[in-house]
């Protein structure tokens, strides 16, 4: 299949990174779509958890918020929010945390708190919610983001969620024992941190995307892998599953409106 959008490719590439063995803490938006496409295609036994306390959800349509009734109705169990953060997240039972970002730097540090100074912000964003501890307590962190100069910056204005800090062994120095960000999936490329420096490096370009396009939409000078290759395009099954899910979601939300 050749006719797909960059965002569809991003969502499907993110879905492919998940398996039936994963226990995944899901954010709203692209992460939610990716996790559910994985569940509906190659990872039927994946455990999806939303921070509202819903564990093992299988929604027929994508939720608009992390606390939609659909999540609770399809969940294996629903626990209180303190239990969610204590036993399940802090207890180390979640293998993958899936996060988005307003601002991201080359070491996977995320800002969703403010643009500008904290005390006198240019833009007050919603803030971290569960993200600071998702970033430190999940086994590893996947990030999805649409590329833009204002989103991928040399220096983020606020460390909402710690990635690899200054790079290298910064996590270890802080006493963090989890892996942190191990995968960045954008609408143009798939990135992984360099094993030593921890700087995100482009490993794969999505079909039809050039190095220049990736660089022009990123605020730092990008490193490309020596063995750079191409993301396989979406299969009919992947694209069909994503589009059906989105059509069901739109229909359901319109019905309620």
């Amino acid at each position: 299949m050749t006719d797909f959008t960059p965002v569809e490719m991003m969502t499907i590439a993110a879905a492919r990174a998940l398996s039936s063995d994963d226990v995944c803490f899901v954010g709203i938006g692209a992460p939610s779509a990716a996790c559910n496409v994985a569940r509906l295609t190659h990872a039927p036994d994946i455990t999806l958890i939303y921070e509202s306390g819903t564990i093992g959800v299988a929604p027929d349509v994508l939720p608009l918020s992390i606390g939609d009734g659909e999540l609770c109705e399809t969940a294996l169990t629903t626990v209180s929010v303190p239990e969610m953060f204590r036993y399940w997240l802090m207890g180390g039972r979640i293998s993958i945390g899936f996060l988005g970002a307003a601002q991201l730097d080359r070491f996977g540090n995320i800002n969703t708190t403010v643009i500008g100074d904290y005390a006198h912000p240019k833009v007050r964003l919603p803030g971290g919610g569960g993200a600071p501890e998702i970033a430190s307590s999940c086994g590893e962190v996947f990030i999805t983001l649409r590329q833009a100069q204002r989103a991928m910056v040399e220096k983020i204005d606020f460390f909402t969620s710690f990635g690899h800090g200054e790079g290298g062994n910064h996590r270890e120095r802080l006493g963090l024992t989890t892996k942190g960000p191990t995968l960045l999936i954008t609408d143009y490329a798939i990135w992984r941190p360099d094993p030593e420096t921890k700087e995100f490096t482009v490993r794969r370009l999505h079909q039809g995307v050039t190095r220049e396009q990736v660089q022009d939409t990123c605020g730092w000078k990008i490193r490309f892998a020596d063995d750079l290759d191409e993301t396989p395009p979406p299969t009919d099954l992947e694209l069909g599953t994503l589009r059906d899910l989105q059509a069901r979601t739109t229909a359901a939300h319109q019905r309620m409106v």
């Binding site: 929010v81 802090m90 919603p126 919610g129």
Partner: protein, 283 residues
Amino acid sequence: MAQFLSLSEAIRQNVNDGDTVAFEGFTHLIPHAAGHETIRQRFRDLTLLRMTPDIIYDQMIGMGMARKVVFSYAGNPGVGLLRRMRDAIENRYPRAIATVEHSHSAMAQAYEAGASGLPMAVFRGYKGADLIKVNPEIRSVTCPFTGEELAAVPAHRPDVTVIHAQKASRKGDVLIEGIIGVQKEAALAAKRVVVTVEEVVPDFKGLHPNLCILPHWTIDAVAVVPGGAHPSYAHGYYERDNAAYLEWDRISNERALFQQWMEDNVLSVGPEVFAERVAGLRR
């Protein structure tokens, strides 16, 4: 001991100017009718505790009732930003507000500590996060057994917690089901508790033995307000009014439009309008 009161009386007897109040409900069962009653009674200088300030606190902040907001995620869920809260933070309109910002994990565990009668919550968190630099209430303790450095935040002890629930028994015991959020912890952490409910049933006999129930002796006032969570939802009763959340983005974006909306939909009506608002959302 729970007293059945009208909503206006329940709020009047339990909320005071300058109180620290927690209106809780995590996306689900947000006590909007009680929020509107609190706005109608024009309380001042409140400290507002809530994980997700949401529309309910955007309205109170926009009406100038808040002195301080303690929170962990200030968004309109599934839509975007909270525009009245932003206006207060960015432009000090209609008044400046102090903010104390946490993560969800910290907020949830601060309620749990309050419910447990402990002075603080201890947990593994905030590592490398800049909130430590801007919130002096985030500190650390060293585990006396392992030497691990852990985050510590003070327990939440609201003067009053307000929640919405599905059912009360005739005695005033309260049943919450679905996404239960932090309501039990927030209620048990508070000095006084006000609960609005969808309906009153004779008792909870024959139901599952492990349901989330607050006994009547943990509650001060119960008010029956069908639809009282609108535009959030009540599991088993009515669905979330997603259109209202989208609409709020437009209403809250303009100061004058916001004032007019509050006048028409909050100040000049009573709690009985909530039943009509959910009529089309019932299953």
